[in-house]
Symmetry: D2
């Protein structure tokens, strides 16, 4: 079965790069929100986020950062907390043919909301 021909011939390479990157951003958010986290485990979690999401179709690279300041803001008296969307600062690079899309999530102060958007597209 030719998956590309069967299922993706109705959209352009640019649209598919956006599609695959967006799927992966939604996945990352909803898979990892809720995970216990502390100052000491930030890095192993960033690594697991990066490595697991890079497995998805068309994903070239994932840069996963937890915002340390946002982490501190919700730290509990037990010296750990749970990942929430506000602390995610992530770039997902998806590539289809010659098009590279950069999908981003970052917290936007004015909206009080972690916004997902297409940061860049390089053709």
């Amino acid at each position: 079965m030719d998956v590309d021909k069967e299922f993706f011939s109705n959209i352009t390479s640019r649209e598919r790069a956006i599609f695959e990157g967006a799927i992966t951003m939604g996945a990352l958010f909803h898979q990892f929100v809720g995970t216990p986290i502390s100052r000491d485990t930030v890095e192993s979690l960033e690594k697991a986020m990066k490595e697991s999401l890079e497995l998805q179709p068309a994903i070239e690279k994932v840069e996963a950062k937890i915002n340390r300041q946002k982490l501190e803001e919700v730290m509990t008296g037990f010296d750990y907390t749970c990942v929430n969307g506000d602390m995610l600062d992530i770039k997902i690079y998806s590539k289809v043919d010659d098009v590279l899309a950069v999908i981003r999530i970052k917290f936007i102060e004015e909206l009080n909301y972690p916004l997902m958007f297409v940061e860049d597209i390089i053709e």
Copy 2:
């Protein structure tokens, strides 16, 4: 802040419809996979999937179906199991300006894989 102008002026309405629908499909999959499910609770879970994901930006409608046959295939001796990706049969309708995108996940037998793709775009 004009979110559309600030963050989405670099993509077309058609691209944004794809983007928002894809985010929501990735979200739905990774939020609900793992949830305990039985023959008796399928409907309340389908409803919760539908209602929660329809909240996301640009989502017009979500049709969430659990494939009953796939559900039976993984039923345990305790008369329940956990949601997996193979049993998801979902259509997400996202609309931006005059463009309606239909994002789909369904299990593709030949790939042994629940594929996400753009089923239709109506402009």
Copy 3:
């Protein structure tokens, strides 16, 4: 295979009631935190939480409430937010032989933390 004899003969009925209820509380928290939620979808989500977790072994009943005030505190400008642990107010009733354990999660102001504990045991 006699599961009880094989795997649970090393603990009392009281201990097993606590065990099964605690498993289910941990499950509920980490399954549903992150789910999109609004004022209008609270009830369908409470129902899905209740019905899905009542499927787990030894669970008699689940009373799942989202604290509406806590929900409002994190509402975004898009009129929805994501479930977090602070808004969960849940009682899980697990029964093993003649012992009924009531496992609770509720937000404790003084700790700034949603605490899980054994609220009651009836023998």
Copy 4:
């Protein structure tokens, strides 16, 4: 606030060790099931599971293993799959006062089910 006195004086140290370990086992399962995984990312995910769950109250140590054979059984044509409960082989050590409880999940062939149980208690 004396949390122990306020919320845990109704159960023994042994019961609380079981309680805390069980919470964490339920959490681990429902947090990580669904995560994309391949042969190459098993180790970073095991590390993230271990480190994040060791943060929870009373948890001394988490030994998190993904069963490689179970992983292969569900490998897709895209060389990755999603974590399911069947591939989890995990020991959680929780300690309260002088009591150490070992909570285990492993796949039981005869039940076609990943069973959670109290493997050992050392007083």
